[in-house]
Symmetry: C2
Subunit: 368 residues, 2 copies
Amino acid sequence: MKTIITRSRRLRGTSFTSRIEEQGVKSYTVYNHMLLPTTFSTPEEEYNHLKKYVQIWDVSVQREIEITGKDSSQLVQLMTCRNLSNSKIGFCYYAPLVDSEGGVINDPLIYRLSESKWRVCIADSDVLLFAKGIASAKKLDVNIFEAKIDVLAVQGPNSDKLMEKVFGERINKLKFFRFDFFEFNKKTFLISRSGYSKQGGFEIHIEDIEAGLNLYDHFFKIGDVFNLKPGTPNHPERIEGGLLSYGSDMDINDNPFECGFDKYIDLESDIIFLGKEKLIKIKENGIKKRLMGVKIEAKAITITKEIPMKNSEGKVLGQLRSAAFSPKFKRIVGIAMIEKDYCKQLQKFQIEINNNVFLGEICNLPIE
Amino acid sequence: MKTIITRSRRLRGTSFTSRIEEQGVKSYTVYNHMLLPTTFSTPEEEYNHLKKYVQIWDVSVQREIEITGKDSSQLVQLMTCRNLSNSKIGFCYYAPLVDSEGGVINDPLIYRLSESKWRVCIADSDVLLFAKGIASAKKLDVNIFEAKIDVLAVQGPNSDKLMEKVFGERINKLKFFRFDFFEFNKKTFLISRSGYSKQGGFEIHIEDIEAGLNLYDHFFKIGDVFNLKPGTPNHPERIEGGLLSYGSDMDINDNPFECGFDKYIDLESDIIFLGKEKLIKIKENGIKKRLMGVKIEAKAITITKEIPMKNSEGKVLGQLRSAAFSPKFKRIVGIAMIEKDYCKQLQKFQIEINNNVFLGEICNLPIE
C-alpha cells in the first residue's frame, strides 16, 4: 500500500533536500528524525547503476554526536563493547553500543578526531540522550551535542575517479575506514573512506552548508563522464553485502553476539563498558539465535514487521526482518534472526507473504 | 511536494495498522519509530468532525516507557523539573523532561501506577535511552523497558456517550488526567481521561492485542449513532488549543521556560533533577525567547523547517515552527518561537512562504 508522508519540522529535511527534490526523489523514509531519500527511479535500476558507476547520496540523517572534553574517551568506551583503548586519530571504528542489559542500542561508526574529541555517526536511535544520561549521572567532564554536519556519500566503482577529479590524487591514498581533510574551492572537508554499500566510496562530512551546496552542484556539473547519478542507500545491495540496518535487522532486544558482532566484543581486557557483566554471562550461557541471510523464491515483498519462517513441520525457526528483490539472484534476499539449531547454509523454510506460501533457504552473510 | 513513505520494520506499524488501512488512511508521519496516521479525508473535514462528533485515533506511537523497582521514583524525578514528590496513584502528570543543560528532551504524560511503578507516555524521542543511561551510570535498582502497549484515543464531544455505551456509566466519573481500569467483554483496560485534543475524551491503553482489536471493531459496529469516524491528531485543532508537538514546536535547544512550562518547574523545593542547577541560572538571567501563537493571512502552508518572521524593518523577530490552515479563523494558525521583546498580542510581522510575502500577527496560546 502506498501512502504519502506528511511533512513537519519534526521530520526535518537536510541541507540537500531542495536539491534532491529538484532531481526527482520519489520516496523517503524517516531516520533520526530526518528525511532520508529512498528512490529516484526503481531499486533495481539504482542497484545496477550503483554496481557499475557512481552515485551521490544525501545521508545527512547519519547524525554525528560530538563528544569532547577530559572524560570523552571514558564516556565513549562506556557505551561500546569494542575496545577503543588503542584507537587512533584519523580512524573510524564500527562499534556496537550496548546497554547494561546487553541490548544493542545502535551500531555507529565512531570517528576519533583528537585525544579528547570524538564523533559518533549514528544509526536510527537517539544516542545523544543515552550519552547525556550517562554523563550527567556520572558527572563526567564532557560536552555532548548533535553536530551541525550533513553528509554526502559518494559510492560506486567510479567514485575514486570522480573524487580524484574534485579533490586531487591524495584522496585515493586514503585507506578504508580512515579519514582526513581535503580541499575544494578553498574550503576544507573531512572525508572518510566509508559508506553503506560494498561498492567502495567515500563520505564527505559538511559543516559549511554553502560550501557543501557548491560542492554538490560541482559534482553534478562534472559527473556525466563518470555516469554520476543521485542515489540512495540501496536495499538489495546492502542486504547482499550483509550491511545491517539498526531497527530493521536488530534492536534493543538483541545482543551483539546474536547480531554477529563477535569480533567487536572485548570481554578479556580491563576496559569498562556498561554491558560488560551481562555480555560475560551471555557468552557463558551461549546464544539461542543469530542473524543470517536468506533467499526466497519470490519476486516482491514489503516488510512492515517481522515475518515468521517455518520448517516443513510448521515449527517457527526464525523471523524475517529485512528483504528486497535481488537483481543478481533474481529472487528475494533478506536478513533474518534464526534459532541457533537452524543457523546453517541451505536450511530450507517456508514463509507466507500476502497469503501465498513461498520456499526459501538460509545462507551466510554476506549473501553469495 | 507529495512523496511516498518507504516501509520497513524500522518504521513499524501498530496493532491497528491493518484496520486503519482498510478504513482508507491516506498519509502517515513517523513518530517514535512507528507509523502515525495523519489523514483519512482532509485536515479541514476532520477538524469539523472532531469538534462536533467523536473519532478514534490510533496513537500507539505514544510509546509507554515502564519504570519499576525500588529506585523508580528517584529516576523519574531525576528526569523532570515537575515536582512529583506528592504524586498520587491513578493520576497522570504532564511533565517536561530536561537534560543537565536545561534542554527539553521530551514532554510526556507520566502515569503513576503504584508506589514503584510508572509509565512515561512519550513524545517523539528515545526517552528509554536517556532513562537507561542515567540508571546504569547511577546503578539504580530499576527495570526500564518499552511496554508492549498500543493506545487508542477516543476524542470529541460524543466520546462520553460512546464510552459509556461500551464501558458503562462509571467511565464518566473519571476526572481529567486520571486513570482507572474498566472492563469490556471480560477484558480489563487501563483508561485515562486525556488526549491530544481540546474536545474532550479518553485514551485506552491496550496490552492484550486480541482484546484491543475486538474493542476497536465493536466501537465501529455501534458507533454510527454517535457519528464515529476514524481520525488522527488534528493539526489545526491542536495548534489552536496550544497543545505542543515535541520536535516541531520545541526541542533540546529550548528550555522549559521558553516553552511556557513555568507551572511545571519547581526550583524551590528540595527535589533533585538533572537540570535543576542550570534552570536556576536560566531563571536568574531571564529568557530571551518564548513560544507564542500566530495568525497569518494565508490559506496554505507546508512546514519542513523553521521559517523566519520579520518586522517591518526586516529584523527577524521569531521562527515559525508549526502551522496549518484553521477552518475557524479562515487563515493559517501556528506556533512560533518569538524574541522576548516581540512576545505581545497583535505584534505584526511578515513571512515569506513559497516566494510570497504574507502578513501575520502574534497572539497568545491557546489561540482565540
